[in-house]
Point group: C2
Chain length 256, copies 2
DNA sequence: ACAAAAGTGTTGGATTTACACCCATGA
DNA sequence: TCATGGGTGTAAATCCAACACTTTTGT
């Protein structure tokens, strides 16, 4: 058969699923929504939805992100690093196991979004509730969601794997790119940025060496002018994300 | 509308496209096939085809790879690093611009394969010919394919962008992983591995420091026992790829 | 003997780490 | 005054680039 015979290809549904990460109370958290209908009714899932007939994949992801969080992406069509106070959004990977959705053949193009700490998420679409959950709770050895009075079980579909892939991507990307600033408000201190690294990597970093490193990496941070004492202690300089997207030299994640 | 109403989603065709890279005559080359039918008839394109109705994405990519090159992937379902003399295959990215195929809405899940230098490619499927072309020629500033008496123009569809993404991925992944060995035969010398790095990065590396670095990185190479003089000069030890997939410390790509 | 490629040794400079120490604020 | 986080200085350990030099083959 000719591979381009229009009658010869099986039809697929194509969706986008979102791994939206933020740092709240020194923990890496992901946005999850509760499913209101079968399958997996009552279980937590990643936000997502169908790609429309005339819509690009990145545009569909940006649309879902706005619907779920109100977050704007600065330029959905532009290359990855969206700067400023909008979220960062990039394609993560595509999941297409024939059995991943029991109803039909669905291929999901997962996207990764990094956002600063937000007010409460707003539920939308078919979800009857939404919340930020620590990824540690969602990805426990036995599939997560236990231990806080939440009996809803592990994430729906193959979303635990998608979330794990997104978390791993975020962990490695903040090593060699300036993406960690996407977790910060428009103006932030070196200490706040350090706490982002510590939360995402789950390690403790030396504040003195971190400060030297991050202020010495060209293009990573630019002084915003003021200071703040919102963390207590001596006032800290405020910075904004600089123009650099690739860090040279990279931040070094401690071994083990 | 409910996003899960089965009648509410638009149908898509889903394909896999392959960026198959190898190193031939000290140049990074990609496998391209000539299109036998419109659109883009007569132009070079990446190999690829439709995903079958009951087939996983990785399985479809592995199937196309065998059809086009005869290369086997050691375990299509296993995580990325396939060792030994088979090819490495991993998902690259998904391309779904509504206008990328003039006939219908096609979402293509591109995969990246790295292979050792092979005999002549064998044409298959709808391609009436196939060849290895230096990526430099395929990705010239004006879209490539000129300069060697080939008037077929730039790559079909958005394949130039897919190829560029695949090359960029390969260039960065050999930095921090042992993937460069996927370009080598089962047994190879340090010099042959160095020429892989030089071809992929397009730089010259110091043979002495490279040797020390690569033999000193734990798990990268294991001695295979023999020696060879196939490169001339003093006999060189033969090595096999070691078990390590992540290199620590990474190989350093020279700046600019 | 010579060319060519494989390896080893050494050295100076850069980077990283660990930690002593000082600074500026709120309570 | 003390606790708290912000920031600088410095010395030891480590890593890396550059290159002199030796080894082992083919011609």
């Amino acid at each position: 058969m000719s591979p381009y015979d229009p009658s010869a290809f099986p039809p697929f549904a194509v969706t986008v699923d979102l791994v939206v990460l933020t740092v709240r109370r020194d923990a890496l958290c992901a946005l999850v929504v509760r499913r209101g209908e079968p399958p997996f009714q009552g279980r937590w899932a990643l936000p997502g939805g169908f790609v429309r007939g005339d819509e690009d994949l990145g545009a569909a992801a940006a649309r879902e992100l706005v619907e779920e969080t109100g977050l704007c992406v600065h330029d959905p069509a532009a290359p990855p690093p969206a700067l400023g106070n909008g979220a960062h959004l990039e394609q993560l990977a595509t999941y297409g196991d024939p059995d991943r959705d029991p109803r039909m053949r669905v291929v999901s193009v997962a996207h990764l979004a990094l956002a600063p700490d937000l007010p409460a998420p707003r539920a939308g679409g078919d979800a009857n509730s939404a919340r930020w959950a620590p990824v540690e709770d969602l990805l426990g050895q036995d599939g997560g969601a236990e231990g806080e009075g939440d009996q809803s079980g592990p994430l729906a579909f193959d979303h635990a794997r998608i979330l794990a892939d997104g978390v791993e991507r975020a962990r490695s990307k903040i090593e060699y790119s300036s993406l960690a600033t996407a977790f910060c408000p428009p103006e932030f201190t070196v200490g706040e940025l350090r706490r982002v690294y510590e939360a995402v990597w789950g390690v403790a970093l030396d504040p003195r060496n971190f400060h030297r490193k991050v202020t010495g990496t060209p293009g990573f941070l630019v002084p915003a002018g003021g200071t703040t004492t919102r963390q207590g202690g001596r006032p800290a300089q405020l910075f904004r994300a600089g123009g650099a997207t690739l860090l040279n030299p990279p931040m070094l994640r401690p071994e083990i």
